[in-house]
Amino acid sequence: MTEKERLLKVLRGESVDRPPVICPGGMMTMACREVMIRTGCRWPAAHRNAQKMAELSIAMRMQTGLENLGIPFCMTAEAEAFGGEVEDGDEITSPHMVQYPLESVKQWRGLKELNPQTDGRLPIILECTAILSHRFSDTPVIGNLVGPLSLATSLVEATVLFKALKQEPEDVHGLLRFLTDNSIRHGEALIGHGADVMVISDPSATGEILGPSLFKEFVLPCLNRIVNRMHKLGKPVIVHICGSVRPVYELLKELASECISVDAMTNIREAKNVISGKKIMGNVSTILLQNGPVDKIQNVSKNLLDCGIDILAPACGLSAKTPVKHIKTMTEVAKAFKMYDFRFMI
């Protein structure tokens, strides 16, 4: 079974020999300094060069045992294409927003429709996706999108947006509809360039910040519209939500995606129980992976697999300071894991 077959089978709900172990990229960054130094494809240059981006991603796959290719290395590409100002960071700090294009939610009507072929870094990401998909037919190439609400918090000050949810709901709906349409277009382009699986990261749309009623009104419809369109194009979708999802457990059942990725604080046994019918991805603590020790990474990974995690992954991507040895520890545990075959246990 190839890495791509295994991931696609899991997402389709078919049986596999063991859970895949991946790190999707995008907000859940799949890069570390050790590999950058070894390959010479370093941050920040790799953020704006399709060839370097591809090589760093490939080297991560080869040197850590992760079973996917995931780009870009940040979640600012869409916001930048919409006119936000981004600071590229350095070898360990990923690109981050320093200037928002909007001062108020009402100004969203001034945003230009996104053209993934020309705007900001999006063409570089498309080119890199094509390179990766062309060179690797057996490893899944992941297309990354930022969820509309999180994208909105990169276009306008988060506190302004959060207040507007209650005070100017119509304008927020307008902005989110617009961003959803544009994310769909970017997603279509990623799939057109060879992405096998789509991941939507929506870190700001956490139940902890919004609570269930705002999550239901503002987040769920946008995410589902993107997911449904990606499904029409034949691609499975994983949705990542940061922080505590407990306040929105019930609502997560209404997500149209095959799989939900959760933060380190989420208890997997509980999540599997409550959000039944969905595959769960996660959630080896990003900090544990950075700091170790190795035996604890082993125990946590093994425990997650025993709890029935469907896809093993770092909870919130990788810190660039994570040693390769630590990532390998996690991937080796997944690869050594044997699923119990319940048919023979009866």
């Binding site: 360990i92 981050h96 988060a158 506190t159 959060f162 005070q167 609570g211 306040p247 900090i287 300071k321």
Partner: protein, 241 residues
């Protein structure tokens, strides 16, 4: 109108996220000669305490907290001209910011609102703040507390750099840290004086940091008298009765 009615209206306007009603209730405070300081503490701040409770019970979430805080500020703004200017004389000074390399500031903003509400004098450096800026500002203001926030694992180590630089510069400010990846263990290891896991806890921790310390107020007699007079003025100013 009874004083208790006015205080209730102040508190309720904060709970209801209604800045207009908060300002109206504040106008009633002045009209009915209620002590504005008492109106803030027993009215607006009481409302915010209830809001904290609703937040802890997951009835309110971040958008609600932000609007409640706006209502509270609308009330305080309306009362400010009637407060003696020196009400801040004994406030502890806090410098707060998100460490360089990170621009996530929702958590920091919430902590700022809560600490401000709890009576601290807040100096907000914003986000993506260079290490030296914390040290310089803390030194200039003789800050009592420096609050460092980050959501990114990669910028955590910056906190330790700041703590060491503060020590090197001989600045006596205490340091409280918080943010997604920060644990109590990490806070202890880097030599922070306090750790808070959320905004409500930040208030408790900040208060506890100053509880056991008795900073001797060395003031000349005349100043002491004037300070005391002003302080009394705050509590029950004859002009306002």
């Amino acid at each position: 109108m009874e004083k208790s009615d006015i205080l209730y209206r102040l508190a309720q306007s904060v709970i209801d996220m209604d800045a207009t009603r908060a300002a109206e209730a504040a106008a009633a405070v002045i009209q009915h000669n209620v002590d504005p300081y008492e109106a803030i503490i027993e009215g607006l701040a009481k409302g915010m305490d209830k809001v904290n409770e609703l937040f802890e019970n997951e009835e309110y979430f971040v958008p609600e907290i932000l609007l409640c805080a706006d209502a509270m500020y609308a009330g305080i703004e309306a009362l400010r001209p009637y407060l003696p200017k020196e009400t801040t004389w004994n406030k502890k000074k806090i410098v707060i910011g998100v460490v360089k390399g990170d621009t996530h500031d929702i958590g920091k903003n919430l902590v700022k609102i809560m600490l401000d509400n709890a009576g601290f004098e807040m100096h907000d450096l914003g986000r993506n703040v260079p290490h030296a800026k914390f040290v310089d500002t803390a030194g200039e203001l003789k800050a009592d507390l420096v609050c460092l926030s980050t959501l990114m694992t990669t910028t955590m180590d910056g906190m330790q750099v700041i703590i060491e630089d503060l020590k090197k510069a001989g600045i006596a400010s205490r340091v409280m840290v918080g943010g997604g990846p920060i644990s109590p263990g990490f806070a202890k290891n880097i030599g922070a004086d306090g750790y808070a896991k959320n905004a409500a806890e930040a208030v408790k921790v900040a208060k506890s940091l100053f509880q056991e310390i008795h900073v001797p107020l060395i003031l000349k007699t005349s100043e002491l008298v004037s300070v005391r007079r002003k302080r009394e003025g705050v509590r029950c100013s004859p002009e306002m009765k």
